[in-house]
Point group: C2
Chain length 242, copies 2
Amino acid sequence: MRIHTDLTPSDDYEDVVILIDVLRNSTVASLLLERGLTRLALTPSLRSARAAGKEGWLLLGERAGLPPEGFNYGNSPTELSTIDVSGQQAVMVSENAPRWMSRLASAKQVLLGSLFNATSAAKAAGELATTRVDLVCAGFEAEPDLDDALAAGILGGLLFEALPDAELSGATRFCLALERAFPDPLEALWQSVAGHHLRRLGFEADLAFAAQVSHSDVVPVRTGTVEGAGSAPLYLFSAHPA
Amino acid sequence: MRIHTDLTPSDDYEDVVILIDVLRNSTVASLLLERGLTRLALTPSLRSARAAGKEGWLLLGERAGLPPEGFNYGNSPTELSTIDVSGQQAVMVSENAPRWMSRLASAKQVLLGSLFNATSAAKAAGELATTRVDLVCAGFEAEPDLDDALAAGILGGLLFEALPDAELSGATRFCLALERAFPDPLEALWQSVAGHHLRRLGFEADLAFAAQVSHSDVVPVRTGTVEGAGSAPLYLFSAHPA
């Protein structure tokens, strides 16, 4: 077994991938499915999302951190933790994690991981994997970022506890070291480029929300891909069976 | 001013690059120039190196960690710190740092940085740069590794002290965090993939050598490129004026 980490996505995946976007896609995905959302579709395409909106899907998401016109909500976990999504379906647009989904096509399983669901995401990945777990950081504007790298370190550490014979890649090793550098995860989120960006937009509370470690048992798992009306498909996620 | 870090080399450089290969190219390059070597040529090509050897250049380097046949020495800093290289020229072969040199062609200045010359390399880069310093980690087998990432963090921290208004990229921020995770740099080298590899080959002492921070004032700077007899050129380095 091998535990591998990509600080930004590459495209050669085969077994289990955990896609990490702490601020904010992966965190929000766990939150919404925990709060009773039946299905979440991720897409980078506004047009694909709006077409789903016409069929009754809730429209969530952001462009440059803010909700696009006509959308029901942004992707602030603080905001989304106060609305009732029970029994509904939602499509979430963002330029970060969803744009990388096309690169994960070859992976057998794609999970969404964050600090928020760390213990459960690591457990699910360890159970599903046969040869390898890839911890894939979404990063920020195609650059590595500290929030996702810290989460990769925490997920990698949990996986290594469960799979002590696993081989660790170089990047996995130094993400593990970040856990020691940041005993308080909020500090890493505060210092990250994504965190700076959200703080400038007034979303400080989302950093504190996303810094909660293992508060959710829900692991979003990719269940399919459907053609979109726009330039990209909808990538469907549901809660992995507990 | 921007301080940017690549955990493995990319290819869009413009201003000042510090190429970091702690185990062992960058460390050895400072050591040799400090010990009186007049010129050091790096190349990934054995044939280019051997042709230079026929013209009287010392032959140094490694394939998979060990000196190739007919070479004078490997690239162990522990070993090379005992030989007299004063007034000589040497060519050093390796599959790590030298193979990335072709990607740095667009950079105005290329320096070699390591823990060993950290203070001087950061100072030189800060003085030479007009828009941007790229800290480029050689990594290990095209993957990020802990030894180079820690050095990038220490170099980045020193640069940021000198240029407190510089913008820091995401990867720079988390390399900075590694410094806190590893108060003893030797521990990072010990845990790195390159370090594991060298320990298996019996080069433990090289890790301790390379973990010495700012022991040398010598900063190797690229002074030219000459056609090689083999598949790659010779990249020439001399000591940057103190």
